[in-house]
């Protein structure tokens, strides 16, 4: 089972114990840029769906665990009907502003070529989501005006070196 480690985080598969933190994040206004706030039923669809992505595709979302517990999620996501492989991240409310998303996403981008040969990796980021755009910039991703086909409110940020 894939586990990635960074200076401050362990990236591991999600388990049922992670559910309360995930649900509480999606119930909060902090989830506004990531299809939230969401009720328990919708949050469970996303949580169980992220867990189910792994056995299907061989990759998926990780829980980010710091010394004090889960601080967010980050991973690769690729429904078969979408052209691009996506890398996404979110940081739970109390853990924002500490650089966790950037740290985790860097590890995931480094690991990506071992599990996929997708020609490019993108991030779909809502135009108003400044913090996530700054993460994408730090990761070296570029936005050249392309908007997501499935969601016109989202910018397509393309990560360099995805096909490496």
């Amino acid at each position: 089972m894939t586990v990635l480690a960074t200076d401050r985080l362990t990236l591991r598969r999600m388990k049922m114990d992670d559910w309360p933190a995930y649900r509480d994040f999606y119930a909060s206004s902090a989830a506004a840029f990531v299809s939230g706030p969401a009720d328990e039923k919708t949050a469970w669809r996303m949580f169980s769906g992220q867990a189910g992505h792994w056995p299907l595709m061989g990759f998926g979302w990780f829980m980010l665990e710091s010394a004090s517990g889960p601080v967010g999620t980050c991973g690769l996501h690729h429904p078969p009907y979408q052209a691009d492989l996506e890398i996404g991240w979110l940081t739970f409310e109390m853990a924002q502003g500490k650089g966790y998303a950037t740290e985790a996403a860097r590890a995931v981008l480094e690991w990506a070529p071992t599990v996929t040969s997708a020609p490019r990796i993108v991030s779909y980021i809502e135009s108003g989501n400044g913090p996530s755009k700054r993460v994408a910039e730090k990761l070296g991703a570029r936005f050249d005006g392309e908007m997501a086909a499935h969601n016109p409110a989202c910018e397509v940020w393309v990560h360099a070196g995805a096909a490496a």
């Binding site: 649900r23 056995p55 429904p79």
Partner: protein, 157 residues
């Protein structure tokens, strides 16, 4: 990875959803592939995080419906639930498959009881529940006022 749980009855084979079943979910959801993908990955994820979940029911090679043990966090108890695809109704597949899943659940799950949440208008499902030996508690679950909780006594499947 752990071997998938396969259940067999006289006419049916039940297996957890796997990669080959994506077209089945697409078919169930018509044009809404986001919904199909959410349900497909969600059903598989239910197995990943809880160790039980939905089975696809096959007669020969053909999928005729699904039966599962369903336990999203918003529900108070583990629910045995079933769906038979429209073209395959009237063959008694739902009770046959559900009996196998109930019996598997009762032997594997550490829960005080297994229930069905059945809409008061859904007489077809009520008939299946009766065939399985469930009794109507005539009380509604907290997540759905239109349903009654049907209770399966341990060991009657």
């Amino acid at each position: 990875m752990k071997q998938a749980t396969i259940l067999r009855t006289d006419r049916l084979t039940l297996s957890p959803p796997a990669a080959r079943d994506w077209p089945i979910y697409e078919g169930w959801h018509g044009d809404d592939r986001d919904d199909a993908w959410a349900e497909f990955t969600g059903d598989i994820g239910h197995w990943v995080v809880l160790g039980f979940g939905w089975f696809l029911v096959r007669a020969g090679e053909k999928v005729v419906g699904s039966v599962g043990l369903h336990f999203p966090p918003a529900h108070a108890e583990v629910e045995l639930a079933w769906n038979t695809d429209e073209d395959h109704r009237g063959n008694g597949y739902a009770p046959e498959a559900a009996r196998a899943v109930l019996s598997w659940g009762q032997s594997r799950l550490d829960v005080p009881r297994i229930v069905n949440y059945i809409d008061r208008d859904n007489t077809a499902s009520q008939a299946v529940a009766r065939k399985l030996g469930a009794t109507n508690s005539r009380s509604a679950p907290s997540h759905d006022a239109d349903c009654d909780i049907w209770v399966h006594a341990e060991g009657v499947a």
